[in-house]
C-alpha cells in the first residue's frame, strides 16, 4: 500500500496551480481532500508523478449566500457542510446527504470539489448536485467556464473537465420545497447500494416541481428528468410514485458487485426512490 514516488507541489494560488498543470500535463493531478485519489495511488491504480495539493490555494474555501444562490468553494469539506447553520436552513438536503457520507474522520478531510470532480460513480455529491441543478465553475488556462452538473459526467472518472482545468466552486440555486436524501449502504463508510436525491415543490395538494437524481446505479450519477416529470401535476398518489419509479428505472443501468446482483439493485433503487419521494413530500 505504498504509492510510486511522486513530486508534491503546494502552490499558494490558482495561477500557481494552473502553471503546474500546464507544465506537467496529464502527469499532474490536483488533490483536494485526497480521499479518493490517495487510495488509488496507494493501490498503484493511479499514477500521479506530480501531485498538486490545493489546501493552501486562496479563494477555494467558504460557503457564501446570495438571494437566489449558494456558492460552495471547492475546498469546503463535508464537515463544513454539516456544521453550517445557514446552509442547513436554506438547503437542508446538503446536510442530510453529507451526514450519510463516510464517517466523521473522512468528512473532516473530504471536500465538495473533490467529491464532484473525481467522477467516481459511488460518490454522493454528484447525484445530489444534479438534483439541485448545480453549476460547476472550472478555471483553466483559457479562463473560466461554468458547466451544469447535469452535463458534467460522461463515464466513470470521465467528466467535462479538461486535464488542465481546476474545479473551483459549486453554485446551486436555493432549493425550494421538500427534500430527501435516501441512501442504502452496507455499513458506515460504504458507497451506496442505491441512493436517491429528491426535491419536491408542493402547491396546495399538487406537485408543481420535482427533481430526482440517483447515485451508484450507473457509471455516472443519473438525473432522471422523466421521473421528476411523472410527479408534476399529481398529488403524489401511489400511481404517480410508481410512474416516477418506473421512469427512473428506465434511466439507470446498475452492474453487479459485492453489494449484490443487478435485479436486487433495481429493486432497491425503486424502494429507495419511493421512500425518498414520500419523505420529501411530507416535508414539502
Amino acid at each position: 500500500m505504498i504509492p510510486a514516488a511522486f513530486e508534491y507541489h503546494r502552490p499558494k494560488d490558482l495561477d500557481g496551480v494552473l502553471s503546474l498543470l500546464t507544465e506537467h500535463g496529464d502527469e499532474a493531478r490536483v488533490m483536494a481532500g485526497g480521499h479518493s485519489l490517495i487510495p488509488m495511488m496507494k493501490l498503484r491504480m493511479a499514477d500521479v508523478p506530480h501531485l498538486i495539493d490545493l489546501q493552501d490555494v486562496a479563494g477555494l474555501t467558504g460557503i457564501s449566500h446570495s438571494d437566489n444562490t449558494i456558492r460552495l468553494g471547492a475546498m469546503v469539506t463535508q464537515h463544513d457542510i454539516i456544521g453550517d447553520a445557514k446552509l442547513a436552513e436554506r438547503a437542508p438536503i446538503l446536510r442530510e446527504a453529507a451526514l450519510q457520507i463516510a464517517d466523521p474522520q473522512v468528512r473532516y478531510m473530504g471536500t465538495v470539489g473533490g467529491n464532484v470532480a473525481n467522477g467516481d460513480p459511488g460518490n454522493d455529491m454528484p447525484g445530489l448536485m444534479q438534483c439541485l441543478d448545480a453549476v460547476f465553475t472550472l478555471v483553466g488556462p483559457e479562463g473560466t467556464r461554468d458547466v451544469p452538473a447535469r452535463d458534467f459526467y460522461e463515464a466513470a472518472y470521465m467528466t467535462a473537465r479538461e486535464d488542465d482545468e481546476v474545479l473551483t466552486a459549486v453554485t446551486i440555486p436555493v432549493p425550494r420545497g421538500g427534500y430527501a436524501y435516501e441512501k442504502q449502504k452496507r455499513k458506515i463508510g460504504d458507497y451506496a447500494t442505491a441512493a436517491a436525491a429528491v426535491q419536491i415543490v408542493k402547491d396546495g395538494g399538487t406537485c408543481t416541481a420535482a427533481s430526482i437524481a440517483m447515485t451508484n446505479l450507473s457509471d455516472t450519477p443519473v438525473y432522471s428528468d422523466a421521473a421528476g416529470a411523472a410527479l408534476i401535476g399529481t398529488s403524489l398518489d401511489d400511481a404517480a410514485r410508481a410512474a416516477a419509479v418506473a421512469a427512473m428505472l428506465g434511466d439507470i443501468d446498475p452492474t453487479e458487485d459485492n453489494r449484490g446482483p443487478v435485479a436486487f439493485k433495481i429493486h432497491v433503487a425503486g424502494v429507495i426512490l419511493n421512500r425518498a419521494i414520500e419523505r420529501a413530500w411530507a416535508r414539502a
Binding site: Q184, I188, Y191, V268
Partner: protein
C-alpha cells in the same frame, strides 16, 4: 511491616482477587498510544522485506527476472525459491502435517501467494522493487470449488503424487484423490445410519459455512535480527504461540534452540490469525542471516486478508432423527472442508478437523457419526480457529441450525425442542456419542433464565401479530427471534491426546516473590488484548494473598517465560490459569512452613486466611504474606531453602466446556434486506468468574465478531480465484455504528477439574453468537416456508430469500 488493613472484608477487597472487576492494567498504555507493537520496533541498521505476490490463483512460473528491481536505489536483494532451496527453506512444515511453499517453487496455488522477497533499505524502495520483478506465468486451470476439485483431472499438488501416479498417504491417512487431503471420522457409522433409517422423523439439511478471516486490527509481521558475532537470532513477531515458533524455527533452520529468542511484544488482536508460521517469518530470518542486518516484514491489510490464515469454509450436510415427541435419536454429519492450496490448519495434530466432533452440541444424542473430507483448492491456506476453539464455531453452527430445521420438521417450538433434548444436570460428567467427556453443566437453568429474561412468550406473541400484520399489508417488516444454546470445548489440552508438532499442549507459570512482598509471574501464554496482566494477577492474588496490584505478569519472551503453547482456543485460563493457581499453591505451601517457623508452631497448626497465615484458634497470632516474603530472604530457617519461587507445568486432565444461552431479536425490511438487531441477550456460563468486567468486554467483542461473520463478513472468490473482498470496503468489519446494544448475564457452574473452577470465556460469544444472529434471520422467514439459507446474511442475500419466498409479489 504492619498491615494497616485489618478488617477481613477489607483485606479481601485489597487483594483485588477472583471476582473483582479490576480495571485492566494494560489500558494505561493502550489508551495513551504507548503500546509497543512489532511495527514500533526500530533497530539500528534495520532493513525491510516485502513480497512479490502472484496475481494468479493457479499458474506455473516459467521464469523470474529480478534484474530491474535490483537497479532500484535501496533494493538490496531479491530472494526466490532458488535461493532458499540450498538451505532447505523453500518449503516449510505446516501445523497440520502438510508442507507449504515459502516462496513459489515452480508454481503458485492461490492469488497473493509469495513469489519473491524483495529486501530493501526502506519500505518505499521495497515497494518500487516489487513492481519491477518480472515473473513469467503460465496460467493453469483454476479450481475454487472443493467438490469440483475431487472430480477434476487438474492436480493442484504434484508434489503429493508419486512418480507412478499413485497417492502416498497424507499426514492423516489414505487419500482418495490427488486433490484430497484426508478423511477423518468420529462415532459409529452403521448404527447411526440404521437409527436414522428407522426413525419416526428425520430432518436433512446442507449448509455452507462460508470462508472468512479473523482480521485483527494489527496485521501479521516480524523483525528478525541475526547477531553474527554471538550466533543468536532474535525474532520479534505477532506470535500467538512464541515458544512453538521458537521450536519450529529451530527445527527448520537448524539453529540450536538456545540461540533463538522469540519475543511477542504487544499484539493488536489475534483471533487465530497469528497462530501459524508464515513465509514472511522464514524470509525475514533468511534475509537477516544473509545481510547480517535486522529485517522487518509487516503485512498490509490486503496481504493479511488475502494470504494469512482464513477461517471456516466448511460445506456441512446433516441428518438428524427424532421421535414424534421430539427426542433426538441420531445425528449424521458430513463435511467437505476447503483448505486451499496447502493444509495449514492450526489444530492439534490428531484432530485434522479440530474438535468438529463436538457437533452433538448441548444435547443428549445417543448415536452419532461424523466424517470430514479435507480438500485442496486454489485458495489461500489456513483454516484457523477464528475466535473459537478448533472448528467449534462450525460444529455449533451446524447443530444449532439442525435443531431449528428439526423443529420445523416436527412443527415444534425451537426453544421447547432444545429443552427436551438438553443433557441434564445430573448426567455430568457426560460422555457424548462422538467421544468427548463434558465436565459440568446446568443447561436447563441457563435456558430458563434466558427465556424469562427476554420474555420469550411475549416475543412469540409479538411475532405472531407482526406476521398477521404483514399478511394484511400493514407492514413490510418481519421479526425474527434467534435462539442459540452452545457448548464450547476449550482449554486444549491434555497431553495424552493434544499436541502440535509433537509439543504437548500443557502450559506453565513461574512465580518469583520479591523480598518486600511483591511478585512477578511469567507464563507460556501471550495476551493479544485478553487482559492477562490483569486477570492472572487476580488468580495469584487469591492464591498467595498478595495484592494483584503488587504482581507483575509477563509473557511473550521465550528467554524468560517458561515453555508454553500460547494463547488461542480459549486455552489461557483453562491451562495457564490452572498452572498459575498451582504455582501459587506451591508458594503458599512453602509460606506455610515459614509462617509456622516464625510463629513457633507446627506447620499443621497454621492456616491460610486471605493474606496471612494464622495460628489455628488464635487469630491474633499471624504472619502476613508480606512478612513471610521478607522472612524468606532474611531468615536462616532450618530445612528450608532461602527465597520464595515456584514453577508449575500444568497438563489438564480434561478440556473445559463453557456454555451459554443467547437470544437475538431482529427486524427485517423485506424490501431492502436491511436488518435491525433491536435486542441481543447473552447468558454465559464460564465457570468461576475471575474478572466480570473483562468477561463482559470479551462477550461484547466476541458477539461483534459473530455479528460480522453472520451478517456480512466473507472472503469471496470469483471463478478465476480472484479475491473479491480484499479490502475493508468490502470485507465487513463492524464499527460502533453497526453494533447493537448487548445485554449480558451469567450463571456459574464451575469446572470440577480446574483448580479454581474456571472454564474460559473469550471465544464463547463468537461460537454462540453466530447461530443466534443467523437463526434470527431464519426465524423471521420460518412462517413463510424458509428452512435454510447460507450466511452471510447481507442485504442482497436476505432480499433474495424474501424474493424467492414470493414476498415481493
Amino acid at each position: 511491616m504492619k498491615d494497616d488493613v485489618e478488617n477481613r472484608e477489607d483485606r479481601v477487597a485489597n487483594l483485588k482477587g477472583l471476582g473483582c472487576s479490576r480495571k485492566r492494567v494494560e489500558d494505561a498504555r493502550f489508551t495513551q498510544g504507548k503500546g509497543n507493537y512489532v511495527d514500533d520496533i526500530k533497530l539500528d541498521g534495520m532493513i525491510f522485506g516485502d513480497f512479490v505476490r502472484s496475481p494468479y490463483a493457479h499458474a506455473r512460473i516459467k521464469s523470474i527476472d529480478a534484474s530491474a528491481a535490483l537497479e532500484v536505489p535501496g533494493v538490496l536483494a531479491v530472494l526466490t525459491a532458488k535461493d532458499l532451496e540450498p538451505l532447505g527453506l523453500h518449503w516449510m512444515p505446516t501445523l497440520a502435517g502438510d508442507k507449504q511453499m515459502v516462496l513459489a517453487d515452480g508454481k503458485v496455488l492461490f492469488q497473493g501467494q509469495e513469489v519473491a522477497f524483495v529486501v530493501a533499505e526502506d519500505r518505499y524502495a521495497a515497494a518500487d522493487g516489487i513492481e519491477l520483478v518480472e515473473v513469467d506465468y503460465e496460467e493453469l486451470p483454476v479450481i475454487v470449488d472443493p467438490f469440483e476439485a475431487l472430480k477434476s483431472d487438474v492436480v493442484l499438488r504434484e508434489d503429493l503424487v508419486a512418480e507412478d501416479g499413485s497417492l502416498p498417504d497424507g499426514a492423516h491417512g489414505p487419500r482418495k484423490h490427488a486433490n484430497h487431503i484426508f478423511t477423518w471420522e468420529a462415532g459409529d457409522k452403521d448404527p447411526t445410519e440404521e437409527v436414522i433409517a428407522n426413525a419416526e422423523v428425520v430432518a436433512e439439511e446442507s449448509m455452507y459455512y462460508h470462508r472468512t478471516h479473523p482480521c485483527p486490527l494489527e496485521t501479521c509481521g516480524c523483525v528478525a535480527s541475526m547477531d553474527k558475532v554471538n550466533g543468536k537470532l532474535t525474532l520479534w513477531g505477532t506470535f500467538q504461540a512464541p515458544h512453538a515458533i521458537r521450536t519450529v524455527v529451530s527445527l527448520i533452520s537448524g539453529i540450536e534452540e538456545h540461540n533463538i529468542r522469540v519475543i511477542s511484544p504487544d499484539i493488536g488482536g489475534g483471533f487465530g490469525n497469528k497462530v501459524g508460521a508464515y513465509p514472511g517469518y522464514v524470509c525475514s530470518v533468511v534475509a537477516s542471516i544473509v545481510t547480517g542486518k535486522p529485517v522487518k516484514w509487516i503485512e498490509d491489510r490486503m496481504d493479511n486478508l488475502m494470504t494469512t490464515a482464513f477461517a471456516r469454509d466448511y460445506w456441512m450436510t446433516g441428518k438428524i432423527s427424532a421421535t414424534k415427541e421430539g427426542k433426538i435419536t441420531g445425528l449424521h454429519c458430513h463435511v467437505t472442508a476447503d483448505h486451499g492450496g496447502f493444509d495449514a490448519c492450526a489444530d492439534p495434530t490428531k484432530f485434522p478437523a479440530g474438535f468438529m466432533n463436538i457437533c452433538t452440541g448441548s444435547y443428549d444424542i445417543p448415536t452419532a457419526y461424523l466424517a470430514v473430507d479435507g480438500v485442496y483448492t486454489n485458495k489461500a491456506p489456513g483454516g484457523v480457529s477464528y475466535r473459537c476453539s478448533f472448528r467449534v464455531t462450525e460444529a455449533v453452527y451446524f447443530i444449532e441450525r439442525m435443531i431449528e430445521v428439526l423443529a420445523i420438521e416436527l412443527n415444534m417450538d425451537a426453544a421447547e425442542l432444545r429443552r427436551v433434548n438438553f443433557i441434564r444436570k445430573e448426567q455430568f460428567p457426560y460422555t457424548a456419542a462422538l467421544g468427548w467427556e463434558y465436565d459440568s453443566g446446568d443447561y436447563h437453568t441457563a435456558w430458563e433464565k434466558a427465556l424469562k429474561a427476554v420474555d420469550y412468550e411475549g416475543l412469540r406473541a409479538e411475532q405472531a401479530q407482526r406476521i398477521a400484520d404483514f399478511k394484511a399489508g400493514k407492514t413490510r417488516s418481519l421479526m425474527g427471534i434467534g435462539l442459540s444454546f452452545f457448548t464450547e470445548i476449550v482449554g486444549a489440552g491434555p497431553v495424552k491426546n493434544c499436541d502440535i508438532l509433537g509439543l504437548g499442549m500443557f502450559d506453565s507459570c513461574e512465580i518469583r516473590i520479591h523480598p518486600t512482598g511483591s511478585a512477578i509471574a511469567r507464563l507460556g501464554t501471550i495476551s493479544q488484548g485478553q487482559g492477562h496482566a490483569t486477570t492472572f494477577a487476580q488468580i495469584l492474588a487469591s492464591e498467595i494473598g498478595l495484592p494483584a496490584d503488587s504482581i507483575t505478569i509477563e509473557e511473550g519472551d521465550t528467554d524468560t517465560a517458561p515453555y508454553g503453547l500460547g494463547t488461542y482456543g480459549s486455552r489461557s485460563t483453562p491451562v495457564a490459569g490452572a498452572a498459575t493457581a498451582m504455582a501459587g499453591r506451591k508458594i503458599r505451601a512453602k509460606a506455610q512452613m515459614i509462617a509456622a517457623y516464625l510463629l513457633e508452631v507446627h506447620d499443621n497448626d497454621v492456616e491460610f486466611d486471605v493474606d496471612r497465615f494464622v495460628v489455628k484458634g488464635a487469630p491474633e497470632r499471624f504472619k502476613t504474606m508480606k512478612e513471610i516474603a521478607f522472612a524468606a530472604y532474611n531468615q536462616a530457617i532450618p530445612g528450608i531453602e532461602p527465597g520464595l519461587e515456584a514453577v508449575s507445568y500444568y497438563d489438564p486432565p480434561n478440556m473445559t466446556y463453557p456454555f451459554g444461552a443467547y437470544v437475538c431479536v431482529m427486524d427485517i425490511d423485506v424490501d431492502t434486506g436491511v436488518t435491525d438487531i433491536r435486542r441481543f441477550y447473552a447468558l454465559d456460563d464460564c465457570g468461576t468468574r475471575i474478572n466480570p468486567m473483562i468477561i463482559e468486554g470479551q462477550v461484547h467483542g466476541g458477539l461483534t465478531e459473530a455479528l460480522a461473520v453472520a451478517m456480512g463478513q466473507e472472503i469471496a472468490y470469483d471463478d478465476m480465484g480472484n479475491v473479491k473482498t480484499g479490502t475493508l470496503m468490502d470485507f465487513f468489519l463492524p464499527t460502533a455504528w453497526e453494533v447493537p446494544n448487548y445485554e449480558t448475564d451469567y450463571t456459574v457452574t464451575p469446572s470440577p477439574h480446574h483448580p479454581i473452577g474456571a472454564k474460559g470465556v473469550g471465544e464463547s460469544p463468537h461460537v454462540g453468537g453466530v447461530p443466534a444472529f443467523s437463526n434470527a434471520v431464519h426465524d423471521a422467514f420460518r412462517a413463510f416456508g424458509l428452512r435454510h439459507t447460507n450466511m452471510p446474511h447481507d442485504h442482497w442475500r436476505i432480499w433474495r430469500t424474501a424474493h424467492e419466498l414470493g414476498l415481493h409479489a
